[in-house]
Amino acid sequence: MDDVRQFLDAYQTTIGFIGLNAMLALSVWLTLYTGQLTLGNAAFAGIAAYSSALLTIKAGFPFPLALLSGALLATIVSLPLGATVFRLRGVYLAIATLAFGEVVRVAILAIPITGRGQGLVGIPPLTELWHIFASLFVVAYVCARLRISSVGRAWAAIREDEIAAASQGIPVRRYQLAAFALGALIAGWAGALAAHFNFAIQPDEFGFARAVQILVFAVVGGIPNVFGPILGALLFTALPAVLQPLREYRDIFQGVILVLVIVFLPRGLATLLELRRTARLRTVGAEDVA
């Protein structure tokens, strides 16, 4: 028991971020599963992180209410954004959502109350590890159940062929927007938890690099099921800690893993769990988004 306690203490930050990153990976998984490449989730996490932290610091909100407010604010922002950018597709959609992320980052830098470039400090560290992992469990459960419901089938149909999906009565835009908004809610919740996990947050933690990192978790882990993004987040969050002794070569290792997975398992690590289908898909030539 003591060993476990010691391990948790020593690696508390890493373990916490595995859970937070897994949630962020699942948030982008939702849109990837519908066949949309969006990169706005780091910014949604940022909106929720800053707003929830300000609510606890300045307004004295109780912790759960601050989390919820932050996540809901991110969701509310996502709706008009999604309604606008889903006119675009593919790489243009990715660029538009990336631009939104930059707008959020610059806005944080411009508003004095956020602490601007110095970051927002003195956030009460209210997030416990169990908060993170209970949240991850709920998020993963909801995603997994939705995937096999009529909603998940509609998402998969849209990914496979939007025109055919519409001709079967599926309101394509509405389903894309729902996936996007649910992703924003999850990313927001994770961001708000993250803000209260440390004492401070900085604008760069929610910028371009972070957006790409979240995408890498999901893509390397794999899109076919919800285990993929969790696996990807676990691998890429734990690896830097495990490879601490090789500090200088750490990024190279990560890069090599990324390349190997994309070349040999284009549908992600999770496909190791369902190799048969992968092999069959390859013969069909129906690689999906990942």
Partner: protein, 250 residues
């Protein structure tokens, strides 16, 4: 009349793809649509199914003006279709394709699906299996749609459209890529569907299939309707022979 078009017109740039076409299709009818390549057949059904916006004219379905509706809205009203260039969900299984077809008929189970240990889609899956049996694809239920042979893909697309229990089924060259045996089986199936009261618009290059399966046939050429009547009348029509049959089958 289940479906009526009045002076339906569609332009692409300067080209008039469809020029003031009037159609009236009665409920339960199998309505054949023929014409040379580029005559406007696919344009016409893309308008009826909402994939194109009309530049002029109107479409009425079941007595209601539906000219400006989106494809998903029309599907909910009972219009289902297949595509000339098969559009299956290739990465999904055969059964999953039909389940997506059930979309308009199954109540949304988004919240119900969150309850643990419950299979909200069990009934739908059962119905879908029955449909696959009817169309002869039950054995391939768990195969990926993209793995199927060409003729089977055509039949799966029809099954997916039928899963929605449509009032109007539009088939765009369903026999393309089918061998003669499959083509005859298709004709039998179309007759059986019509007997059940499903209205069918059939676009087909296989003239024998169209003439054998349809009660009425309309002929398009250069975006205009040049003739309409029973198969016998169409085959006797000199304008049709010149424009179409003469150039092709005769």
């Amino acid at each position: 009349m289940l479906l009526e078009t009045a002076a339906l017109t569609k332009r692409f740039g300067g080209v008039v793809a469809l020029n003031a076409v009037d159609l009236a299709i009665a409920e339960g009818q199998v309505f054949g649509l023929i014409g040379p390549n580029g005559a406007g057949k696919t344009t016409l059904i893309n308008l009826i199914s909402g994939h194109f916006r009309a530049d002029g004219g109107a479409i009425r379905f079941a007595g209601v003006d539906v000219t400006r509706l989106r494809p998903d809205q029309l599907a909910r009203r009972g219009i289902a279709r297949t595509f000339q260039s098969i559009r299956l969900f290739k990465g999904l299984t055969v059964l999953e394709n039909v389940l997506v077809g059930r979309y308009v008929r199954s109540r949304s189970d988004a919240l119900a699906s969150l309850a643990p240990f419950r299979d909200a889609a069990a009934t739908e899956r059962e119905r879908s299996r029955l449909l696959l049996e009817r169309i002869g694809l039950a054995k391939r239920a768990d195969a990926l749609a993209g793995e199927l042979a060409y003729g089977d893909q055509r039949r799966l697309e029809i099954a997916r459209a039928l899963a929605a229990e449509p009032r109007l089924l539009i088939l765009d060259e369903p026999a393309a890529g089918m061998n003669p045996t499959e083509s005859i089986a298709l004709r039998e199936m179309l007759r059986a569907l019509a007997a059940e009261g499903i209205t069918i618009i059939l676009i087909e290059h296989d003239v024998r299939l169209v003439m054998g399966a349809s009660e009425r046939v309309a002929v398009l050429n250069f975006g205009r309707k040049i003739a309409e009547g029973t198969p016998a009348e169409i085959q006797a029509d000199p304008a049709v022979r010149e424009a179409y049959l003469g150039a092709d089958d005769a």
